[in-house]
């Protein structure tokens, strides 16, 4: 399309927009007056308005929606069925909604708790090993004097160390 064609198209579109808005009563009083002045002096403009108006009037020929006799009744039944179904659901599980709300509210708390526990576990990991070996550490002087580990294990099995020293062979 050449420049002059597209310019003509644009002009035609602007003209149509103005005329359609005029027909639809969407122009201001001032714009209305301008359109009417031009209609009085420009036969092409007037002809375009007549064409648009004629096409618009043809739409009156379209059939109006004629519902079947049972339309209202069947629509009401549809709504009633849905209402009944909803009521039944509510009666069957009256606790469902509060429970859902509760579960939903508790979810962040549970997440926070799990995250806190995991972090604590991870942070205490080095100390846990130390605590486990504490009885050995406390008696390290005594153990260094014993050369045979098997002998110590036998003594522990006999219960000679009591509760204070455990964990040998673990």
């Amino acid at each position: 399309m050449s420049n002059s064609d597209s310019s003509r198209e644009r002009q035609r579109a602007e003209l149509d927009e103005e005329l359609v808005a005029y027909l639809d009563g969407e122009l201001s009083a001032e714009q209305n007056q301008l359109v009417e002045q031009r209609l009085g002096s420009d036969p092409v403009y007037r002809e375009r308005l007549r064409e648009l108006e004629k096409t618009w009037d043809l739409l009156d020929e379209l059939p109006t929606g004629e519902p079947t006799q049972s339309f209202t009744q069947s629509t009401l039944e549809l709504v009633l069925n849905e209402d009944t179904r909803l009521q039944l659901n509510k009666q069957r599980k009256p606790w469902t909604l509060p429970l859902r709300v509760l579960a939903f509210s508790a979810m962040p708390l549970a997440l926070f708790g799990s995250a806190f526990a995991a972090t604590r576990y991870w942070q205490n990991q080095p100390y846990r090993k130390l605590l486990q070996d504490l009885p050995v550490i406390e008696n390290v002087d005594m153990f260094t004097k014993v050369e045979d580990l098997r002998f110590l294990e036998l003594l522990e099995q006999e219960g000679l160390f009591g509760d204070g020293i455990g964990g040998l062979g673990q």
Partner: protein
């Protein structure tokens, strides 16, 4: 609508009785006569479900036709999808109009040798409307049959007022072009004369 909101069945029945023709007519022209009642029922069901969200003071027709517009758009998309699945046709876009050859065939079948009578005129206009794209069709129907202002159409269709102004202007110019052969000499409407621009 306020009484419907409070759960009055009688008010709801009255509301259906008041708007059913308009809603069915909209679907007849925007989608098809075969599914118009089913879609209208879907609308009234949605109205009932959404009754609590209706804001007192809002214009009811605008609220109702926003639902109508959504239901129509979904139905057109479903039909379009089925058509694309069933028939291997050239890509004509989401909001495209009825295939032109179908229209021309349908129209020629109805044309008498001489002057068309009122029923045939309705058929011609209906074919012309069907050949518009979805947005143009919706804007035309809301403007013509619901007497909606550009502001209300914009609200219903989720557009700006200026966009509606341009849309309606192009839609009416398209209709004029398509119906020109019929107006001039009683020939079937010619959808090839329309501009696909939205």
């Amino acid at each position: 609508m306020l009484q419907v909101r409070q759960g009055s069945a009688a008010a709801y029945e009255e509301l259906i009785a008041k708007y059913q023709r308009r809603v069915i007519a909209f679907f007849q022209h925007a989608v098809s006569a075969e599914v118009a009642e089913d879609l209208a029922q879907e609308v009234f069901l949605r109205v009932y479900r959404a009754r609590q969200s209706y804001e007192p003071g809002a214009r009811f027709a605008t609220w109702l036709f926003t639902i109508v517009h959504n239901v129509a758009s979904n139905a057109i998309r479903r039909r379009q999808f089925r058509k694309e699945v069933n028939v291997d046709v050239a890509d004509s876009g989401q909001f495209s109009a009825k295939p032109l050859d179908t229209m021309a065939q349908a129209a020629s079948g109805y044309m008498p040798a001489r002057r068309a009578d009122k029923r045939e005129a309705a058929e011609m206009v209906s074919l012309a409307i069907q050949s518009l794209n979805e947005r143009q069709k919706t804007a035309i129907l809301l403007s013509k049959f619901e007497n909606m202002s550009y502001q209300d159409i914009a609200e219903t269709m989720g557009l700006t007022t200026q966009a509606v102004k341009s849309l309606l202007s192009r839609a009416r110019a398209n209709l004029k072009e398509i119906l020109e052969p019929y107006i001039q000499s009683g020939l079937p409407p010619d959808p090839t004369r329309r501009s696909d621009e939205d």
